[in-house]
């Protein structure tokens, strides 16, 4: 059984009179047992909204969010913390500096989920255990965030997410705020934790090189829709959708040449009341034709395990 299945999940935010911002539109995907899935796309494409829907901090407009066969999409986000599912699905937030309470010590930050959702007996032992798992020295536990380095704060953020031993961890750009000098140690830690605790990951990131290292499968979103999903290596070596190609192409690399790069023209279309019959990538796509303006492509299987939403790919 899959850990998570999303079926035609939609999130439309009302913005002004009869205008709806389609942040997430008909998104369907699954995360298998022990699998790590990368979610990439540019800012505003809906990846963070999707992460917040799955962690049940937002209520979807429509669609099913199924955790191990049980539909959790209907539980209102306000009462979700009172259910048994809260401790099974946890999140590591983007910037450890901004997401830690400056007036809580590292110990308090890690103890908070245990106090609220877990068994409070031998609290100290549970916190020490989580700190040990993420490689945070115990003598740092009484410290406040401003007394910790960036890498140490990232470890606190991960420790509090895993202290209740969740089986689905949603990571929102966990290394974006870190220097490359510590990035590798945090990535290695995440890979080890996944293996030792048997968790599944949804890894939200715009750093494609990092996604490629850590994920088995990658989902590419553009303007609220999935445009491509497939095995990580294959997606990078043989990107099928023109947007994925542009994304893979735009990653700078040591010794790379910007002249070889084709830059995407223009800006994304408006996500407010989008025309359902126009491809969302229309206007920026180097391969667009007449048909793209009349008929929006559906996500279809092109090879086993690879899905694409493009008429011409």
């Amino acid at each position: 059984m899959n850990v998570l299945d999303c079926v035609e999940v939609k999130m439309h935010f009302p913005v002004g009179k009869r205008a709806l911002l389609h942040a997430v539109d008909d998104v369907s995907f699954s995360i298998g047992e022990g699998e790590s899935v990368g979610l990439v796309g540019e800012s505003g494409c809906g990846k963070s909204t999707l992460a917040r829907l799955i962690t049940r901090m937002l209520d979807p407009t429509a669609g099913d969010i199924i955790y191990r066969g049980r539909n959790i999409g209907f539980i209102p986000s306000r009462s979700f913390a009172g259910t048994q599912f809260r401790r099974r699905i946890q999140m590591v937030f983007q910037d450890a500096t901004d997401s830690l309470n400056p007036r809580h010590t590292a110990f308090d930050a890690i103890a908070e989920p245990v106090r609220r959702l877990g068994a409070a007996e031998n609290l100290a032992a549970q916190v020490a255990d989580a700190a040990h798992k993420v490689g945070l020295p115990e003598e740092l536990l009484p410290r406040y965030p401003h007394q910790l380095s960036g890498g140490q704060k990232a470890r606190v953020g991960i420790a509090r997410a895993i202290v209740l031993l969740p089986d689905l961890l949603v990571l929102d750009e966990p290394t974006a705020a870190l220097d490359v000098s510590v990035q590798a140690t945090i990535l290695r830690l995440l890979a080890e934790l996944k293996a030792s605790l048997g968790m599944s990951y949804l890894f939200v990131s715009h750093d494609l090189n990092v996604v490629r290292m850590l994920c088995d499968r990658v989902i590419v979103m553009y303007l609220g829709r999935i445009v491509e999903q497939g095995p990580a290596e294959e997606l990078f070596l043989r990107p099928g959708h023109p947007y994925t190609r542009a994304l893979v192409n735009a990653i700078p690399s040591i010794g790379g040449r910007p002249a070889d790069r084709e830059v995407l023209p223009g800006e994304p279309r408006s996500p407010i009341n989008p025309d359902p019959n126009v491809c969302r990538f229309f206007g920026r796509c180097p391969q667009q034709r007449e048909r793209c303006r009349k008929e929006a492509p559906l996500l279809r299987q092109v090879r086993p395990g690879v899905q694409l939403a493009c008429h011409f790919a």
């Binding site: 590798a184 290292m213 990653i251 790379g256 910007p258």
Partner: protein
């Protein structure tokens, strides 16, 4: 001929908890038309160095030695009014976060007009067409309408384009871009970097690109300056730096930058953290405590400057 020449610059911040020796014996040279990258971890002094060049330092900062010369002008001794002539007109800067650097309650077109009115001899009735032209030059679609937009109405990439339009409005000789694409998407980053390098080439403008992304620096810079904890540890032409890094810190940084198809197992990291720059007992090489190649003299002796190759300088007792 060099446009900007920083010689032996040392700078400290006096704070309540001690003196932070933020920059020590910095040398930097930028020639007309070239792009120089300054790379290093956050906290290594990249931005402070550029603030010093524009002399827009915090009140707690003291320059304790050295000189900065820009196009024959002694920046550290110049009067505030002559510096005003230079800032924005001769040297301009793109800041890290365009949303916080732009005025949120003033239309972007007006903000460009402000720069033109302050720093150039543009006639009043010429301001609006010039501002629209500046927006068009940075390839903002529909510049007539965008002229009236407020920053919150624009995307992050468009805000950065407005910042670039502001910075380039007066045709400066030197552009300082402080992490111009951090926080932008890779696709937007590619477009912004292409724009900056195209405009620099057209105008023969020199650029200093501050970044912590070595891959980005490798693609756009002619020369790279590597900083660590307030020291310049290595300076080299881009190709030479990546082919044969001489300083152990540079080598580590390159190895910790993810390459396409790399596995986590082979990705390196730099052990330890930047040292506390308030310490009285800082070793003479500030990388010594993180370095595998450290020798006894790294702690006590004055750092040597070794020439590895033409234009390739390294400050290390035991270079690679």
């Amino acid at each position: 001929m060099s446009l900007l020449e920083v010689r032996d610059l040392s700078l400290e911040f006096r704070t309540r908890s001690g003196t932070v020796r933020a920059l020590e014996h910095i040398n930097l040279e930028v020639v007309k038309g070239e792009t120089v990258g300054i790379v290093g971890e956050s906290g290594s002094g990249k931005s402070v160095l550029c603030f010093a060049v524009l002399r827009i330092l915090d009140a707690a900062a003291r320059i304790t030695s050295g000189s900065i010369a820009f196009a024959g002008m002694d920046v550290l001794r110049a009067s505030e009014s002559s510096l005003q002539q230079v800032r924005g007109r001769e040297i301009s800067m793109i800041f890290q976060n365009p949303r916080t650097a732009l005025n949120p309650i003033r239309r972007v077109g007006r903000q460009i007009e402000d720069v033109l009115a302050t720093h150039s001899a543009t006639l009043r009735e010429q301001l609006k067409p010039k501002a629209i032209e500046a927006l068009a030059k940075v390839r903002i679609p529909d510049p007539d309408r965008r002229y009236l937009a407020y920053p919150f109405e624009l995307s992050g990439g468009q805000c950065q384009r407005v910042m670039i339009a502001l910075a380039l409005a007066c045709d400066p000789q030197l552009l300082i871009a402080d992490e111009p694409t951090t926080g932008l998407d890779v696709t937007t980053q590619a477009a912004i970097m292409q724009l900056v390098s195209d405009l620099a080439r057209e105008r023969g403008m020199a650029t200093i690109l501050i970044t912590h992304d070595l891959a980005l620096a490798s693609e756009y810079c002619d020369r790279i300056v590597v900083m660590h904890a307030g020291h310049v540890v290595e300076t080299a032409p881009t190709a030479a730096l990546f082919r044969a890094p001489a300083h152990p810190y540079t080598a580590r940084l390159i190895a910790s930058t993810p390459a396409p198809g790399q596995s986590i197992a082979t990705l390196a990291s730099v052990p330890g953290n930047l040292p506390d720059l308030r310490r009285a007992d800082l070793p003479s090489c500030r990388f010594q405590e993180r370095c595998e190649r450290a020798l006894p003299e790294c702690v006590t002796d004055g750092l040597p400057t070794t020439i590895a190759d033409s234009g390739h300088l390294v400050r290390c007792f035991n270079p690679l």
